[in-house]
């Protein structure tokens, strides 16, 4: 039999049962408008479904019943005779349904007498409420439309939920208070319902839940028995135990299956809907479905049913163009909507793809601003894909005309809300003129998840498989080894630095072996991090049980479960782990957009000198700070007064070893010569590795860490960036004194948004004796300058020249004596920039990496200031 008809029979049978029950209650209390509205809607839905599926006899009957109900709803008195007539109608409908179920088509017959009776009743009722103007039939244009065009199915799905959450029919019948009132009808109705429906049974989810618990208990008991028999070697016990084992496994499988249904059930009505829609809209649309057999938890199926229907309607209405337009665009006249479902790593992916016109990004942009969801400036930074996601915002519809099909302002946000509620994700991608793809990723089930069982310390934990990207085995001295940045472990993974969180450390248990184990690479949204565990067992399907209310406040765990061997195991919540590790990760996340911003804006490529230090690590220094690279005979070093000096170009230069590098006593010692004005310093390194020009993200180091600003991945390797400031003062105060004396400590304000450049410039400025204040943005700088007075302000012009000029203009307004000297800093000084800077009142522009010029400028400023004083 047609699957559609099959489902119709089940649903209608249930709907009728409910109507039956409600009607009797209604007769008891005719003034209860709520019950009346319920009944009316049910009858209406049945009618709509009948019309949609093409059952004229049924439709005529329900239509007549509906008009009577409509009168009641509008205020007519409910007479027992009317109730009886309607019940009779319902019985007739059931008879027809029973035959329909048997033969697959409507039986021949005549209902005119009954319909006449009903219509007479309706007339009578209408006479009674004569002044009541609105006729009942077109009560709600939307509902009426839906009833005509099959959307009634969606409505009935919604009622399904209501129906299921209501007391079950059995209980309703048993617990009925008025058995004497309409017993005949009640009995009949249930007999008929059983005959008309196919051989399925609705079972309360709680019942299945309980069954599942019991089965897992059975599994545990079996395991214990197996253990006992292994010890006792009793052959008489073995055979039955084996049988028990098999049966238990099958039982477990069976119970799991009761919850699962093929997703095809959710979209069986869609071909019909699309066909009807294409006729209505004058479009030619083909619906292609793939993977209808993909199984999904019933609970989830119910929740995505409506969103799916909605999305397909959307596609048909908005996305697919009219045949003429398609021809003009060089596409086949027939549009295609492709619906596909497949399993993917513990979740089900459903995609709805069309080959229509794609999202109108411009319109979404306009709408997003009009609705105040974002500002123009913010939109500028967003990619088209990000803008496309605005359609998931509540009340966001770009449809200009509200059509009957879709565009009523309840749209993709409802889809997203539904998917969110079951822990799924929705994404949309679109190519103008080529089509749109909406991808929904949902968990298979809410109750059973696939989890990776891991060991940390002495305990086992479960990590939901959905969050796990990959597993990496790490071993000290291996290629995959954990490296430390000031005690913070990281792993290099394909050119990325992956922060590592040790699970045993989080749990406060001692680790088995330091530096060895497995990294569970975890992804939360866009963020990736690794969870270090001692060992990994296997993946297991676990039954998620909620955490005790006393423990729910611990963000690390999302629930607990009982494993096959009876042990209680905690389910780690990767979100919680991420949030608990907190600052480090979230800072990084916040820094990220800014960092990528850097690249877009001016692609600050920096040439770095990379060298190896004694600790075996790599460190780097911007090449612009390096004067020369030298290789010197170790004998040339002169040691005195706890310092090592080198006679270099007629000067004595202090030699400082970087990090843990050991100064050599013999052989060749590679040196990096750094000079700063009069001051020259030789940094001893293990070996010079390379000079690279790269755009890189600097990850700031802990402020406590000495000698390193932060680290970055350079050519795929973690490299620390040397903090020159750390090495400069250790050279000794004496030789710095001269430089200091020349420029008595002045206050200098550096406004530089780039973390990297700020850190790079600061040692230079500090070493030259400036009293330096660093600020990342102009707003904060304006505040600082209002409070304190600075001799010189260094402004970054690369990131946001306009803001810098505006800031400069604001400084002009200060009284003459307090006005600081304004110096622009840029990596690339063009004549145009010079001109604009002069207009804005900047005193000069200096190259960012031209330290000599910068220091000269600063000194000049100092000299002027002294002259003025």
């Amino acid at each position: 039999m047609d699957e559609l008809l099959q489902e119709f029979l089940t649903e209608t049978g249930e709907n009728l049962d409910t109507v039956d029950r409600e009607l009797v209650r209604f007769e008891q209390d005719p003034n209860d408008r709520d019950i009346l509205r319920n009944i009316f809607r049910l009858v209406h839905t049945v009618k709509g479904t009948c019309g949609f599926i093409g059952l004229p006899r049924l439709e005529a009957l329900t239509h007549a019943a509906e008009s009577v109900m409509g009168q009641f709803r509008d205020g007519a008195t409910v007479k027992p005779i009317a109730v009886t007539a309607i019940l009779e109608t319902i019985d007739r409908i059931k008879d027809i349904l029973a035959e329909l179920a048997e033969k697959g088509q409507e039986p021949e017959g005549n209902d005119e007498t009954l319909i006449g009776e009903l219509l007479a009743l309706a007339d009578q009722a209408r006479g009674e409420i004569a002044p009541a103007p609105p006729p009942p039939a077109p009560m709600d244009p939307v509902a009426a439309y839906l009833a005509r065009h099959g959307q009634a199915t969606a409505q009935s799905a919604a009622e399904d939920i209501v129906f299921r959450s209501a007391p079950s029919p059995q209980r309703g019948r048993d617990g009925r208070i008025e058995p004497g009132e309409q017993p005949v009808h009640a009995e009949e109705s249930h007999g008929a319902a059983r005959a008309s429906g196919p051989a399925t049974l609705r079972v309360n989810v709680d019942t299945i839940e309980h069954l599942m618990t019991m089965v897992s208990e059975l599994v545990l008991t079996r395991n214990q028995l197996l253990e006992v028999s292994r010890r006792q070697e009793d052959p008489g016990l073995k055979a039955p135990l084996q049988r028990l084992s098999l049966i238990t496994a099958e039982l477990q499988d069976g119970v799991m299956k009761t919850r699962m249904q093929p997703i095809g059930n959710a979209w069986s009505k869609l071909p019909r809907i699309v066909r009807d829609l294409s006729g209505e809209l004058g479009k030619r649309i083909e619906l292609v479905t793939e993977g209808a057999e993909t199984e999904l938890d019933r609970q989830i199926l119910d929740l995505i049913k409506d969103p799916l229907i909605h999305m397909v309607r959307n596609c048909a209405d908005h996305a697919i163009e009219l045949p003429a337009d398609r021809r003009a665009a060089g596409k086949p006249e027939q549009g295609t909507i492709r619906l596909a479902a497949y399993h993917e790593g513990g979740s089900v992916t459903i995609s709805v793809t069309d080959d229509g016109r794609g999202l109108d990004i411009e319109r979404i942009r306009g709408k997003a601003i009009a609705r105040g969801l974002t500002t123009e400036a913010e939109l500028e930074k967003l990619s088209d894909a990000q803008i496309g996601r605005f359609i998931f915002q509540p009340g966001f519809s770009t449809a200009e005309n509200v059509t009957a099909v879709s565009g009523r302002g309840v749209g993709m946000d409802v889809v997203k809300a539904n998917v969110d509620s079951i822990g799924g994700t929705v994404d949309i991608s679109s190519r103008p003129g080529l089509g749109t793809a909406i991808t929904i990723k949902i968990p298979l089930t809410l109750a059973i998840i696939s989890a990776l069982i891991v060991v940390a310390g002495a305990d086992r934990y479960a990590i939901p498989q959905t969050a796990v990207r990959e597993l990496v085995r790490v071993k000290a001295g291996d290629d995959n080894r954990i490296e430390q940045i000031n005690g913070a472990p990281v792993l290099r993974l394909r050119g990325r630095l992956l922060p590592i969180i040790s699970l045993s450390e989080l749990m406060g248990t001692p680790r088995a072996a330091a530096g060895e184990g497995f990294i569970v690479v975890t992804q939360i949204g866009e963020r990736q991090f690794g969870i270090l565990v001692d060992s990994v067992f296997h993946t297991e399907e676990i039954v998620v049980k909620p955490m005790s209310s006393k423990l729910r406040h611990i963000p690390l765990f999302s629930g607990n479960t009982i494993l096959g061997d009876g042990a209680v195991v905690l389910i780690v919540d990767p979100n919680g782990v991420a949030s608990l590790v907190g600052a480090a990760l979230s800072n990084e996340a916040e820094a990220e957009p800014q960092a990528s911003h850097d690249h877009v804006q001016n692609g600050e490529r920096t040439t770095m000198l990379v060298f190896r230090t004694g600790a075996g690590g790599l460190q780097a220094l911007p090449l612009s700070l390096v004067t020369r690279l030298e290789e010197v005979e170790a004998q040339a070093f002169e040691r005195g007064g706890g310092r090592t000096l080198l006679h270099y170009r007629n000067r004595l230069v202090p030699v400082t070893a970087i990090a843990d590098t050991q100064l050599r006593n013999q052989g060749i010692q590679p040196l990096v010569i750094v000079s700063d004005g009069d001051l020259t310093l030789a940094l001893a390194v293990e070996a010079i590795v390379d000079i690279v020009e790269e755009t890189f993200d600097l990850e700031m180091a802990d402020p406590d860490e000495r000698g390193v600003i932060g680290s970055a991945v350079i050519r795929g390797r973690t490299t620390d960036i040397v903090d020159l400031a750390h090495y400069l003062p250790t050279g000794g105060a004496g030789w710095l004194g001269a430089a200091r004396g020349a420029v008595a400590a002045k206050r200098v304000l550096l406004v530089e948004p780039s973390d990297f450049l700020r850190e790079m410039l600061s040692p230079v400025l500090k070493a030259s004796g400036q009293n330096l204040t660093m600020i990342a943005d102009f707003a904060a700088a304006a505040a600082a300058i209002a409070e304190e007075s600075f001799a010189t302000v260094l402004l970054d012009l690369d990131r946001d020249a306009e803001a810098a000029f505006a800031f400069a203009a604001a400084c002009q307004e200060k009284p003459r004596g307090e006005r600081p000297r304004l110096l622009g800093l840029t990596a690339c000084a063009t004549p145009d920039l010079h001109l604009r800077a002069a207009q804005a009142g900047l005193d000069d522009i200096v190259g960012k990496f031209d330290r000599r010029a910068l220091l000269t400028e600063l000194n000049a400023g100092g000299a002027e200031a002294r002259h003025a004083a």
Partner: protein, 168 residues
């Protein structure tokens, strides 16, 4: 695992009925304590416990009690005494636990030892002495004078209400 059947005596437990009160007696250290029998679901030995990191001190961990996950609360710690869990050679610990339902959830109260069920005359129940330790005063409802010792009646709701303690 042994189980008491609380139903037999349940009819007599509701306070205010009759002149007698039934208790499951337990011991924490030397102190004899009484739990209203109507609240006790189970008495069992737990030997496998899952420790929950970052949990409040009083929570020993989670137990599997016939397929249900039960939160184990250490009565000793709850009463402000120190505990040392000494696992045996296989790393297992034998804990005497009392199963209790509270707010729709299952809990296990870990005690030192369980004694017998006693029926006591209401007239022997006295209010708590005023100078009792603050923690004890919050968790107990009264004291019964027995022939040779005192039985402190615990208020199970207060014992299981861990938040109350942190708020105080």
């Amino acid at each position: 695992m042994s189980a008491l059947s609380p139903q037999d005596a349940a009819s007599a437990t509701a306070p205010g009925f009759g002149n007698s009160l039934d208790y499951v007696t337990i011991r924490v250290g030397d102190q004899l304590l009484g739990l209203p029998i109507g609240r006790v679901q189970d008495v069992f030995i737990a030997n496998r416990i899952t420790v929950v990191p970052r949990a409040p001190d009083e929570i020993v961990g989670l137990l599997n009690l016939r397929g249900r996950i039960v939160t184990a609360i250490c009565l000793r710690r709850r009463l402000g005494r120190s505990v040392t869990l000494a696992p045996d050679a296989q790393g297992l610990i034998e804990l005497t636990a009392i199963g209790i339902d509270h707010g729709g959830e299952s809990y296990a109260l870990i005690v030192d030892a369980v004694g017998e069920v006693v029926r006591l005359d209401r007239s022997t129940l006295e209010p708590l002495p005023v100078h009792l330790d603050r923690v004890w005063a919050a968790l107990a409802t009264g004291v019964h004078r027995l022939a040779d010792e005192l039985l402190v009646v615990l208020d199970l709701d207060a014992v299981l209400d861990l938040d109350l303690d942190t708020a105080a």
